[in-house]
Amino acid sequence: MGSTTMEKEILDQALCATDLRVATLDGTEILHGIGFTLHPGKILALVGESGSGKTTAGLACMGHFRQGLKLTAGSVVLHAGTEGNILELPEHKVRTLRGKEISYVPQDPALSLNPAIRIGEQIAETLRVHRFGSSEAERRTRVAEVLAEVGLANDAAYQRRFPHQLSGGQQQRVGIAMAFACRPKVIVLDEPTTGLDVTTQAVVLATIHEMAERHQVAGLYITHDLAVVAEVADEVAVMLEGDIVEFGPTQQVLFSPEHRYTRKLLRSVPDLAGKRRVGTVEAITGEQPLVIPGPAGNPDTTARHRDLDDAKILEGTPARAPELDAEPPAAAGPLLRLSDVAMAYGEHRVLDGIDFELAQGESMMLLGESGSGKTTLSRCVAGLNHAYTGSVELSGQVLANGTRARTAEDRRKIQYIFQSPFSSLNPRRTIAESVEVPLRMSGVHDKAKRRALVREALDQVRLGERYIDRRPGDLSGGERQRAAIARALVNAPSLLVCDEITSALDVSVQASILDLLRTLQNEHGMSMLFVTHNIALARHISQRLAVLQKGKIVDIGTTNEVLENPQHHYTQELLANVPTF
């Protein structure tokens, strides 16, 4: 590159961070000297799994370090250095820059908006402290303007709302409005769409994109969602344990990754088309080509080698469990049948006449946006909600409503796995103690026998001997979820109800869990009700797909049928909003 381009680049840059090193107060380094440059009107995505230091890096750009962290080296310079290294400025000087020159959109708007102050006032406050505009009236106008820009209503009544009177997506847009209020040059967005459903996410992403473009703002977009990266980012930096391991234009990083970690990360991302195989075990949803398409549709050879290697390793694994063939599922009628299941919390009808059947050995995905009643429905099946009406039949027998009213055998057959592995295992008990509870309750009194069964179940979920006496606190999220699955498996159930069991986990962990479930289905012919709001998983786990909206099943059929020919406009909208790359 010539020197002119270099200069142009320097003039072009909105923020330049170099050699950022951050450590905890007791000396553990969290960022090991990372650096990046932001350009006006461009968005740099910072990706990496949880705990890799993304937030820390983003906040460092603001000259802010969380309690317990300190900067050990590095500089952050704003547009060509007029302010010098902002990390060396005194606190009150940095304050004058924050919100004005460089602003921040937090991960969780629910926590970051002051619950006691009206949203209009919160935006106006930013304007006021930075003396934006010459009069209060002018600032009021700006508040209305910026609210409109993010696509919110901007009348006085709306501005007088409190944060809790807005939905999550609206809260997040208020956060964005606040960040853009003073027309900053740089904006740091910390996972602004995590926790939002796809439809809302699409709107928020569009807003961000448009705002950055229109005002020529440089953006640092922190996320772990690669699909989102493909939507918004111009450049991508991949972080791993405090280091940037790969950096480049979006297209290059996503479609011809160089670093092994990036490739692994990419491979874990499920796609709606089901073209990539997530994990190593085949799903029984149909054959998938082991191909990851490059930017121009050319096979990506680097990745391919790895996958082919993986496939080789798996050659010994049979596609289906042999006994499954021996015992045709249709013979005994459906394993599970729901007829006219309905449920209401007080006035609020959450389930409204649900009917469906599930055959033995079949896996069905239950899809729906947040609040559509997925959890409620799956808990009715598991007997955790007993206030429902209608009937749930297992192998032709109507089940009692609550678990306590069901027989031990019924309880054994249906097992439920909770969404959050951080909450479903008692932190004070060892894994073995938690896993053996179902055995204890179904009358296995022999301690040695219980231990043996527990060990077997842990083996099934690929958690070895060494986990048996640990406590959940010593396990990663993925490991915990495996332990929770082991608890469900220990009694050899015939139906597994999984309620968004991967949504709290990183993509790579999600991949391994999906792997595990597929193996179980293959080997033991277990039926599965897989609840999720992530439609991209559909082809990776289930043969059938049911779409739930406002307590009603609006679309049901085989996965292919529904995905290719959605009947209900809600399903169509969902499909349209799924970010892909």
Binding site: R95, P115, A116, V129, F162, H164
Partner: protein
């Protein structure tokens, strides 16, 4: 909306008060000794005793006595004091006033001081001021109140500096606040007893609030530190602190006997001990109800503060 919440809490409070009245009535029935005998003393003749029993309705069935007492409460008739041979309200009127004065002055000192010191402590977390104030409040909170009182008397009244009167002595009929100098020591003692709790709660809540996302966000917005604290942090700490203050106030209303003893303060605490030892049943009952009512009122006030500082409670439907 607020009105509805308040009305609902008021109703619940009334029910609680009613239950308290029942409990108090039953409990006082258990007091040994004959109230009539207690009034008339040893030499009383059986006829006199009988006459007084009749006069005090001691011969009626229990439930009837309860109902008439309860009825009296509603009409402001607190009953009849065995000790003074007069209406309880007459006996207690001045004392309630005196207690309220003490309580008022003490909280006037304790609440602002507690909130200020607590806030500063939280802001200067880990620094000298914080350590000193945390240490002080810890020690003060650990000392029984009479120890603090005795210490102050020795220091300011009788031994080291002889500058303040050690006991309260208003002539009859004159309210205590006519003698402000005499109020200093009891007020100070009470304030010293109460302040540490407020300091500690304020500090803890402030620490939590200062760590919260919206305070961090306010800083990231460039809001000056002073505004961050005054506008964003402090209002959030007030709700929980109001609860602690309420508990402390309620305790002050009924639990300052020791302090009243020490300073000969003419409040209800002393009247209570007196009434129990004299078996002055109706006074005990009246005082219990008054103290319970005070407890309920301050708690209601604290809830109100909680509701006012939390728009979520303010705007959401009554649960």
């Amino acid at each position: 909306m607020i009105a509805r919440i308040i009305v609902k809490r008021l109703l619940v409070s009334l029910v609680i008060l009613f239950a308290v009245s029942l409990l108090v009535f039953v409990a006082t029935l258990l007091l040994p000794g004959d109230p009539a005998q207690a009034v008339l003393g040893q030499q009383a003749t059986p006829e006199r005793l009988e006459a007084l029993r009749e006069q005090m309705n001691l011969n009626d069935p229990v439930w009837q006595r309860y109902l008439s007492w309860l009825g009296g409460l509603f009409t402001g008739d607190l009953g009849y004091s065995a000790a003074t041979n007069g209406p309880v309200s007459e006996l207690l009127g001045d004392r309630i006033q005196a207690s309220l004065v003490l309580l008022g002055f003490a909280s006037l000192i304790a609440i602002p001081v507690g909130i200020l010191v607590g806030t500063f402590s939280a802001l200067k977390r880990g620094r000298a001021f914080d350590n000193v104030s945390t240490g002080f409040s810890l020690v003060l909170a650990s000392l029984p109140e009479f120890v603090i009182g005795i210490g102050l008397i020795a220091l300011l009244s009788t031994s080291v500096f002889k500058i303040l009167p050690s006991v309260t002595m208003a002539p009859p009929g004159e309210p205590v606040w006519n003698f402000p100098v005499q109020l200093i020591l009891p007020t100070l003692t009470l304030a010293l007893v109460v302040t540490p709790y407020i300091v500690r709660m304020m500090r803890a809540t402030m620490l939590e609030v200062l760590d919260s996302g919206f305070v961090e966000m306010a800083r990231l917005k460039g809001v000056p530190e002073r505004d961050v604290i005054l506008k964003h942090a402090v209002p959030h700490a007030l709700g929980p602190v109001a609860q602690v203050i309420a508990i402390q106030l309620a305790w002050m209303a009924g639990g300052v006997v020791v302090i009243e003893f020490l300073f000969r303060y003419p409040g209800i605490g002393q009247a209570l001990v007196d009434a129990v030892t004299n078996r002055d049943v109706q006074v005990v009952q009246a005082l219990s109800i008054i103290i319970a009512a005070a407890y309920i009122v301050v708690n209601l006030l604290a809830d109100l503060v909680g509701i006012l500082t939390n728009p979520k409670l303010r705007t959401e439907a009554v649960k």
